[in-house]
């Protein structure tokens, strides 16, 4: 009897998995079915016409690509550098231990060094906490920050210095500021993934390099980074795929729903796949007529995101199998 009850409960738990699977299948199938048929050569290479009711989404694809590339250029080096700082330049023993060591060294020489270590450990803890908090900031707040800081503060001030009075070039929505805003949003993902990758490099390789007379930077450049490259790449791709799908941060930092030209400069505004979906969904005068276009756009966006995700996962599994030798 107990065995039967057991089986029933386990089956109940299993239905949750089935439910999740069902949701995923329905969503993907629905979008694939209605959306795939929209993806013709014309769809991908032509701009929209008839007030967004027909035509293609070429400018949105270009805008999304430009945005994502610019975002990566900002986020990846910065994120990798931060992770390297956290893992290679701060004490490994953590704040409590470093502080305890300092307190125990009362009256002995070398105290200064231990204090410096404890301070560095404190900075590392605060930085990690800041990264975790950055990861939790709502995407719309990033958008507000992009507006209030990058555009109103930095952009306007650049204009004050470089532009004739009244002219606004940097103090408005553009690829640059939208990319910076998105880069902030993806920064935690890159940092965490990079730190994980750095952790997989065994400590004795670093010691071997130092014992051969290499400096710390040379050790990082020649041993640590090459050894963690695939993990870093995975993190970068995952961060990029997240950034490609975010719409809230770019609402007021540069996205536009119709532009007669393609963006050619970082100060240009841009069209964007996700933003296009939002506008077509909520502000189209004739929902039924735009549905095909909408489905097509959603399909392209989803396909793009999934491709990036799969690429990241593939790289991760390939390195894991190679590493376990």
């Amino acid at each position: 009897m107990r065995k039967v009850k057991d089986r029933v409960f386990i089956a109940l738990l299993g239905t949750s998995v089935l439910l999740i699977l069902a949701i995923l299948v329905v969503l993907i199938a629905n979008i694939a079915y209605h959306g795939a048929r929209q993806v013709t050569w014309e769809f991908i290479t032509q701009p929209p016409r008839d007030g967004l009711m027909a035509g293609g989404i070429f400018p949105a694809i270009v805008g999304t690509a430009a945005l994502v590339i610019l975002m990566s250029v900002v986020a990846v080096p910065l994120g990798v550098a931060t992770a390297i700082y956290l893992h290679e330049y701060t004490p490994a023993e953590g704040l409590t231990l470093a502080w305890r060591r300092f307190k125990a060294s009362k009256g002995r020489p070398g105290r200064g060094r231990l204090l410096a270590r404890a301070a560095s450990a404190l900075l590392a803890t605060v930085t990690r906490s800041a990264v975790a908090n950055l990861a939790g900031v709502p995407s719309i707040v990033f958008g507000l920050f992009g507006l209030g800081f990058f555009i109103q503060f930095i952009g306007r001030n650049i204009d004050r210095v470089t532009q004739p009075p009244g002219e606004v070039l940097w103090g408005q929505g553009s690829l640059l500021w939208a990319a910076c805003t998105l880069a902030l949003l993806t920064l935690p993902t890159v940092i965490v993934a990079t730190e994980e990758a750095l952790r997989t490099v065994p400590q004795d390789l670093r010691e071997a390099s130092l014992a051969l007379g290499a400096t710390q930077w040379e050790t990082i450049r020649r041993v640590v980074l090459p050894g963690s490259l695939s993990g870093i790449l995975t993190g970068a791709i995952l961060g990029i795929s997240r950034g490609a799908g975010e719409v809230a941060p770019i609402l007021f930092t540069g996205a536009a729903y119709y532009l007669p030209y393609l963006p050619t400069d970082v100060t240009d505004q841009f069209m964007h796949l996700g933003y296009h979906v939002l506008i077509l969904s909520t502000q189209s005068p004739d929902v039924e007529a735009t549905k095909p276009l909408l489905y097509g756009t959603v399909f392209v966006l989803l396909a793009l995101t999934f491709l990036l995700n799969i690429a990241g996962v593939l790289i991760r599994t390939r390195t894991r199998s190679r590493g376990s030798r």
Partner: protein, 254 residues
């Protein structure tokens, strides 16, 4: 005991981990172009002392030294000493072999490349000479571009030796280099060490007394962080002056 023109002079050397004094008043001279062995029960500080010679203990938090270690008359712990250059003059081979996940060629070339050497002819000849000196050349000369991780444990350790030799050190420190290897590989390493002394000053830490007896000309016996006795290997093993030494050699404790 003093030596004429020693490679390394140690005077009044003390080592601390935080409050913990781990090495007490060590004084000895390590002779040039000979093999000096450090022996003693585990935890006696011989590895710590070895690592102090190339200042690898610097990376450990709370490590502190007093006293003097001189290489060629220069105090290695004087302020302003370039630790990075020091580590080129004093090389190290670790207990567990740690080749980089690169090719055999690139492993040996590493030290040269960071010094700025990029001339292929210089690299090729130095690498060949180092691998020959490490008794590995014949086994790998046809596959220099293969991954170093594909070699056996003993071959990897000889590769690490070749890698250390490539930068032409004056002194080679070896921290229990054969302890992770099988007897045949161990024998190869011991023969190698004996050969290497012709060109390099070698200091080897070993927990294997027979190995120390086979391989070294001078032996230092450590216990509880103190240097108990330092003499010709023959003397230490046949007619030790200290009772503690005799007790250790005869296996009364270990």
């Amino acid at each position: 005991m003093t030596t004429t023109n020693p490679a390394i002079e140690v005077r009044d050397f003390n080592f601390f981990y935080g409050d913990n004094k781990v090495l007490h008043d060590i004084a000895l001279d390590i002779p040039q172009k000979q093999v000096t062995a450090f022996i003693g029960p585990s935890g006696c500080g011989k590895s710590t002392f070895l690592r102090s010679i190339n200042r690898m203990n610097d990376i450990i938090p709370g490590a502190r030294v007093e006293g003097r270690i001189s290489l060629g008359g220069q105090d290695l712990y004087a302020p302003g000493v370039d630790v990075v250059s020091l580590r080129r003059r004093v090389g190290m081979v670790f207990q567990k072999s740690n080749p980089f996940p690169k090719s055999i060629y690139e492993n040996v070339a590493y030290g040269l490349r960071i010094a700025g050497e990029s001339d292929k002819r210089v690299l090729d000849s130095t690498i060949e000479r180092s691998l020959q000196r490490a008794a590995l050349w014949d086994e790998v000369k046809d596959r220099l571009n293969a991954s170093a991780l594909a070699l056996s444990g003993g071959q990897q350790q000889r590769l690490c030796i070749a890698r250390a030799l490539a930068v032409d050190p004056e002194v080679l420190l070896m921290d229990e280099p054969a302890s992770a290897l099988d007897p045949i590989a161990t024998q190869k390493i011991e023969e190698l060490v004996y050969e290497l002394k012709n060109n390099y000053t070698i200091v080897i830490v070993t927990h294997n007394m027979q190995q120390a007896a086979r391989v070294s000309q001078r032996t230092a016996f450590f216990m509880l962080g103190k240097l108990v006795e330092f003499d010709d290997t023959r003397t230490i093993f046949m007619t030790p002056k200290e009772k503690l030494t005799e007790d250790y050699i005869t296996g009364r404790f270990g």
